[in-house]
């Protein structure tokens, strides 16, 4: 389904920009991952029971399956077009594409059990996998190791066939091999050679083998014994990919307070590499000093999938693929692309230009990132922000020495807290923007894993046209005593480790959306509301800062009354008309919770409104006052006065 969408899109592009050389059009930029999980008796062995709550209870195979299960759910959200498959190896049972366990095809790849064929995951795949990891009986039925060892050559050829048939033209194809056996076929040279040959096939096919080794207590994992003949250096076959971190995945094991599952997940995440550059451009640091860089998107708001139309009248629910035809408004006849002209609406008519004219109007030079000069970071106010930034990293493809020049610039900007200001045209015909190039240092976790890569961030700056005027306000500056109290409040409530770490805050709306969708897809009960990590920890706030907030509230009330008093005196002194006396003036209310709420100079507070309501005098208030009050309660403010009054009264009646 996704493919046919894609096709339509490409067809449109094709007709539109036949002239253009599209670098990325060469191959579909999608990722296909096939998990090959070893099911041997040692992989199925459970860790010894422990009282530690955090201790592992899962066998290595189960941990790997759980890992695949999590990854599958994640990828449905983040990469809905990517494929995934799961192959169990060394099982007693055998099963290949389109077969059940008993058909003869099993003979082709004995002891290879294709649990989920390589494809965009379906709800059934998710359910199957979940049943396996959550239902022990189910697992015991399937996860039975074979009596004879599985041939690795066979496993690799099986993977070869899966990739060749299901994802023939994916630019990124990866085989994730999870095993604890560092020396299969220890005594059989022929089988070892056969495996090496089959591994070479995969390499020539463009499939990358990622090994996720698992060490057992008392038995490390030695790659040199077998796998160094199987795994190739992942030189970037795709020129868009950055030079890879040559580091091999760490050997996973449980212990040190982390489970095998966590350790596997982090190993897999460390293999994430951008599959496609956003742009590839000359970076002009000065006239005559050009290097080559590529841009990537590292920060992007993840949105839920767009809704679509589903056809339910068939045997299975099917997504209806929409296609649009363009028709003329006057006669509703279908219009050919070549007939269409572009014109701007102006003065009740249209102003049109030829295609060449439009191209020349929009043309401000070739795509480039050109440095205009440098400024200290302090000249970049926090509000000078228009959209999420892009990330830029050097490449040697067009200019040799790009990396070292970039590194020198990066180091200098980082050391001096400077930024570059640049003229930036991302693609042909893209609108030029001015951007701040801000250095970002490499950040490592405690265990040395990279959290944030080093590079320059491209922050598009607002033009004068994009800067809005600030709204007018009446400023009442807080006295120092009040500020001091607020400062104490803030000091109690620093975020953990004094940083904002996005990893701690999953998007609650997105997570909820997919939870519901998953439940609907699997025809299950709708889940309970999960914990929303973005909701502040109220209890902690009350415990740590509550007392100080109350103090601040009391002081605010005092200072405010003093302020009102002094203003009244000033106004009377100046002979102004008597201002309306604040009906709430007097002793500060005990409760601080409503400080500074719903009580504009001309507005009324809840108490006064209640008095009016009890006297049946709500109707005597003016429309602005009613609207103001309703607005404060987030109630609609539309309609005639009678409606407003009714709404106010309704509010009190329902209390």
């Amino acid at each position: 389904m996704a493919d046919s969408d894609d096709k339509d899109k490409r067809r449109d592009d094709d007709e539109d920009e036949d002239e253009e050389i599209d670098e990325s059009g060469y191959k579909t930029v999608k990722d296909a991952v096939l998990f090959a999980i070893d099911v041997s008796s040692s992989m199925l062995e459970r860790p010894p029971p422990s009282d530690d709550k955090k201790a592992d209870r899962d066998s290595a195979t189960l941990a790997a399956l759980k890992c695949a299960y999590q990854l599958m759910q994640q990828r449905i959200i983040s990469n809905p077009n990517d494929m995934m498959g799961i192959l169990l190896i060394g099982t007693e049972k055998s099963k290949f594409q389109g077969e059940d366990e008993n058909s003869r095809g099993g003979l082709a790849y004995p002891h290879c059990y294709l649990l989920a064929d390589l494809d965009v995951p379906s709800a059934t795949d998710v359910k199957r996998l979940r049943d396996l990891v959550e239902d022990e009986e189910e697992a015991e039925k399937l996860l039975v190791p074979s009596k004879e060892p599985v041939s690795m050559a066979n496993v690799l050829f099986c993977a070869n066939q899966i990739f060749t048939t299901k994802a023939p033209n994916f630019s990124s194809r990866r085989l994730f091999l999870v095993t604890d056996n560092d020396n299969p076929h220890a005594n059989d040279k022929a089988l070892r050679s056969a495996a090496a040959v089959r591994a070479r096939d995969l390499y020539d096919l463009g499939v990358i083998i990622e090994l996720f080794p698992i060490s057992r207590p008392g038995h490390g994992f030695d790659r040199a014994k077998f796998y160094d003949d199987i795994v190739y250096r992942t030189t970037a076959s795709d020129p868009d990919a950055p030079a890879p971190l040559t580091q091999a995945a760490k050997t996973s094991s449980s212990g040190d307070g982390i489970t095998l599952l966590q350790s596997l997940l982090s190993a897999i995440h460390s293999k994430a590499a951008p599959r496609r550059a956003l742009f590839s451009l000359p970076f002009e640091i000065g006239p005559g000093l050009k290097i080559s860089v590529k841009g990537y998107i590292l920060l992007k708001r993840q949105e839920p999938v767009r809704s679509c139309y589903v056809w339910l009248s068939g045997e299975t629910a099917q997504i209806a693929v929409g296609s649009s035809t363009q028709i003329a408004e006057d006669t509703a006849r279908a219009v050919e692309k070549t007939e269409i002209r572009k014109a701007y609406r102006f003065g009740g008519e249209t102003i049109s230009f030829t295609k060449e004219e439009i191209a020349s109007i929009r043309h401000f030079g070739d795509p480039v990132i050109r440095i205009i000069g440098f400024k200290p970071m302090s000249m970049l106010p926090i509000w000078a922000s228009t959209r999420a930034p892009m990330f830029m990293y050097p490449t040697e493809t067009d200019y040799i020495s790009s990396t070292r020049v970039f590194a020198a610039l990066h180091a200098k900007l980082l050391a001096d807290s400077k930024m570059a200001v640049a003229w930036f045209i991302a693609r042909r015909n893209a609108s030029p923007v001015l951007a701040a190039l801000v250095p970002g240092g490499e950040k490592l976790s405690d265990s040395g894993d990279q959290l944030m890569p080093p590079g320059l961030w491209i922050l598009p700056l607002p033009f004068a046209d994009d800067i809005r005027q600030t709204p007018e306000t009446t400023l009442v500056r807080a006295p120092d005593t009040l500020i001091d109290l607020m400062r104490t409040v803030m000091q109690q409530l620093q975020l953990p480790k004094a940083v904002y770490d996005p990893a701690r805050y999953p998007n609650p709306a997105l997570q909820w959306f997919y939870r519901i969708l998953q439940a609907l897809a699997l025809r299950e009960e709708l889940p309970e509301m999960p914990e929303d990590k973005t909701v502040p920890k109220y209890r902690q706030i009350d415990k740590r800062a509550g007392g100080y907030v109350v103090e601040w509230g009391t002081e605010l009330e005092k200072e405010y009354q003093a302020h009102v008093g002094s203003q009244r005196r000033n106004k009377q002194g100046a002979g102004a008309k008597r201002v309306s006396v604040d009906p709430e003036a007097g002793p500060p209310s005990k409760k601080v919770r409503t400080v500074a709420q719903g009580k504009g100079a001309e507005g009324v507070g809840d108490e006064e409104m209640r008095r009016n309501f009890e006297k049946g005098a709500v109707g005597k208030l003016t429309v602005p006052v009613l609207k103001d009050w309703l607005g404060g309660k987030h109630l609609p403010v539309a309609g005639k006065k009678a409606d407003l009054v009714e709404r106010v009264e309704g509010w009190f009646e329902n209390r």
Binding site: Q326, F346, L459, D465, R468, A545
Partner: protein, 727 residues
């Protein structure tokens, strides 16, 4: 709503305006009209119905105005009564504003007519009233009884602008030599008139130069959130803070106007049938050239299809009514009934809720995910203002930012915001930007820039990818000498920031607007170049560059950057044998059973391996030939399009290998043969879709541009991709 506006332009079209002065190539009238057209078309572009424009001709041949009975009001004509200006009016103005053959007509009288026009139109309603007089000041002007006019202008609150062609202006620094004495006298009188009315007086040259500085559209602030800034939970805890606030946009990218799609109308001649009228299309072009609107908008009509193997073509149309709304979960379609419509929405309540605080220096500026907003206290709520002020100052004193959860309206998705304090002498607010969630961060790894780690895990600090000390020093000097923070000059000539954001203008936005406005009044003339300011910041300032040149030279020397010759990109005729990490010689293992026959199941690896072990052209040709038959068999045995992707991949690999081995002819033969067979329906029926995939993936002939050894010209390769056999 913006205020209503009424503006009358008095344009002097006297005979003397047709002269060309001071070496200008345009007549004075044409030159002055640059200003008037720009102003009028800017008004038209707003599309506002409540912005009225009138045009009054001064020193016209004819007379046509409300007061024409009086002989003092001769040679003054209303060309355009006060109204919203649309394209037909613009065309009419373009035709009617021409130099006259008379110099009779009094500018002061014209002023009175203009005031009268406004008074009649606006009555006592709320309007922004404006009169703009454009003249060369060389006609007779009667300044008697001027005090009456002044008091009337003041009384009606009319803004008076006088712009003179070659008027002296000491402030701007223009003085006309050998000035006509009448003109000199008029200039003095007009200037004092304007001063008394509190209007604006200037010379035309300045006005025209200033057209090059884009005007910025002011937008009335509309709050994106109104509610409480809370710390803690006011519903359940007595210790919670709650301040009523409002949130407004601080930045918002101004979008350039977008062109809409049109086709030439075909319903203009209703007696013709639709087929006939489409034949008359070429005539439409004539109409277009005349810039008459003859266009019909293009709309999109959507149809929906589902897979149905029994239907012809495997797909059939379905009606929108028969479809339910839903989503894709992986490859599973999930329908959601009308009643469950909101089931995927998270239930939320509006509010701005503090999550915690972070020190400023621990925040990475690149985490800003969005445009920015300001948060201010609820207007007219002084207590909230005081409360928020304490929050802002405390945040500022702690050099910290706050992180808060925003739900702009009940039911909207929550976002996390960074709140930063901003304190100016008479303005305090919080500034906010959106922060990323866990799912928004893509954890891609890139190698470090300050060290190189080898496969064996060794850490290097000297490597060709790492800068030398010389390069570091040179770069540091260059950066320091290209500093913009004090390169600019303020009004007093003191050093200040160069190119602050307030001085930069969106190039595409203003360029398109400029072109539209120009084309509206000059339908046949080429579009003038963009305003200088739009490209001013596309290159480093020359003066600064000169200072920094020696340092740049040092960087160039230390860096030794070389362009990669285009031919070398990705070439590998004598490539080194790829080896696994162990360095095991797999070739040797393969060599034992030298490949002769390529199997369809494992075609790509076997093809590559066959090529890798030979230098012999015969073997290469044989390998390609085998691939050719395999590709054809993939297509022949494909059920629907099931085998197409595999075929495409195989074609791609052969094409790539043959390009690298510099044997383009071998591939070209293969693809030609394939095309003939596909289009001849020799591969199991209609396989056009397959050819279309070849085309979409650009897997046609290898032409001279790709491989110099090819005998195929670029054009031929392009034509080949079409679905015609002759190509």
């Amino acid at each position: 709503m913006a205020d209503k506006e009424a503006t009358v332009y008095i344009v002097d079209v006297g005979a003397s305006m047709s002269e060309k002065n001071h070496g200008r190539e345009e007549t004075d009238l044409a030159w002055a009209m640059n200003y008037v057209w720009d102003k009028i078309t800017t008004t038209v572009a707003t599309g506002r119905k409540t912005t009225y424009v009138g045009v009054l001709g001064l020193r016209t041949d004819e007379t046509n105005n409300e007061l024409q009975e009086d002989e003092n009001y001769q040679h003054i004509s209303v060309i355009q009564p006060l109204s919203q200006i649309l394209m037909p009016d613009l065309r009419k103005l373009r035709d009617e504003i021409r130099p006259s053959s008379t110099d009779e007509g009094d500018a002061v009288s014209a002023l009175i007519v203009a005031i009268q026009m406004i008074a009649t139109h606006c009555r006592k309603l709320k309007y922004k009233r404006k009169v703009i007089l454009v003249t060369n000041g060389r006609g007779h002007m009667d300044f008697e009884d001027i005090s009456g006019i002044i008091s009337k202008i003041k009384e009606d609150d009319i803004e008076l602008v006088v712009l003179g062609v070659d008027f002296d202006d000491a402030e701007y620094g223009f003085k006309e030599e050998g000035k006509d004495p009448v003109k000199a006298e008029n200039e003095v009188a007009l200037q004092s008139l304007v001063e008394e009315c509190g209007g604006a007086y200037g010379t035309m040259e300045q006005a025209i130069n200033e057209l090059g500085i884009p005007r910025i559209k002011n937008t009335r602030p509309v709050p994106s959130f109104r509610g409480a800034l809370t710390l803690g939970d006011p519903e359940n805890y007595d210790s919670a803070m709650s301040i009523d606030v409002e949130r407004y946009p601080r930045t918002m990218v101004a979008k350039a106007p977008t062109a809409s799609s049109f086709v030439v109308r075909t319903d203009l001649a209703p007696q013709e049938s639709s087929t006939q009228s489409s034949h008359t299309l070429p005539n439409g072009d004539v109409e277009m050239a005349d810039n008459q609107d003859g266009l019909a908008a293009v709309k999109n009509a959507r149809t929906y299809q589902v897979v149905d193997e029994e239907a012809p073509g495997g797909k059939r149309d379905v009606e929108l009514e028969d479809l339910a709304k839903g989503y894709e979960y992986g490859r599973t379609a999930v329908a959601i009934s009308e009643s469950e419509h909101n089931v995927t929405k998270l239930e939320t309540h509006s509010g701005l809720d503090i999550v915690g605080f972070v020190p400023r220096d621990k925040y990475d500026r690149y985490m800003n995910m969005s445009r920015s907003n300001v948060v201010v206290a609820q207007r007219t709520n002084e207590k909230a203002s005081m409360a928020l002020s304490s929050f802002i100052h405390a945040l500022y004193e702690l050099d910290s930012y706050a992180v808060a959860r925003l739900v702009a309206k009940d039911g909207k998705d929550p976002t996390l915001l960074l709140l930063a304090p901003s304190i100016e002498p008479d303005y305090e607010c919080l500034l906010d930007v959106e922060l990323p969630f866990a799912e928004d961060v893509r954890q891609y790894r890139f190698p470090p820039l300050d060290r190189v780690i080898t496969v064996s895990g060794k850490k290097l600090i000297e490597h060709r990818n790492l800068p030398t000390d010389d390069l570091m020093k040179a770069m540091s000097d260059y950066v320091d000498h290209m500093d913009l923070s004090t390169f600019g000059k303020d009004d007093e000539g003191n050093p200040t920031e160069y190119m602050p954001m307030e001085d930069t203008f969106s190039p595409v936005l203003h360029r398109i607007n400029q072109a539209i406005r120009w084309r509206a009044v000059h339908p046949t003339e080429p579009i003038p170049p963009p305003y200088e300011i739009l490209t001013r910041y596309s290159n480093p300032p020359e003066e600064l560059l000169q200072q920094a040149q020696p340092y740049l030279n040092a960087v160039l020397k230390a860096a030794d950057v070389k362009k990669v010759p285009p031919k070398q990109k990705g070439r590998k005729r004598h490539r080194e044998a790829e080896k696994p990490l162990s360095g095991l010689n797999v070739e040797e293992l393969l060599g034992r059973e030298k490949r002769q026959k390529i199997s369809a199941e494992n075609a790509i690896p076997e093809f590559k391996q066959m090529l890798a072990t030979t230098e012999d052209i015969g073997t290469i040709k044989d390998a390609a030939k085998q691939m050719g038959s395999i590709i054809q068999s993939y297509i022949r045995h494909s059920v629907g399009d099931s085998g197409y992707k595999r075929a495409v991949e195989a074609i791609r690999v052969v094409r790539e290998e043959m390009t690298e081995l510099e044997e383009p002819g071998v591939f070209n033969e293969l693809i030609r043969d394939l095309k003939t067979k596909i289009l001849g329906e020799e591969l199991g029926g209609d396989r056009k879709e397959m050819w279309w995939l070849v085309r979409a993936n650009r897997l046609g002939l290898i032409d001279k541009r790709i491989s110099p050894l090819s005998e195929v010209e670029e054009d031929e390769a392009k034509a080949f991709l079409t679905a015609k056999l002759s190509g």
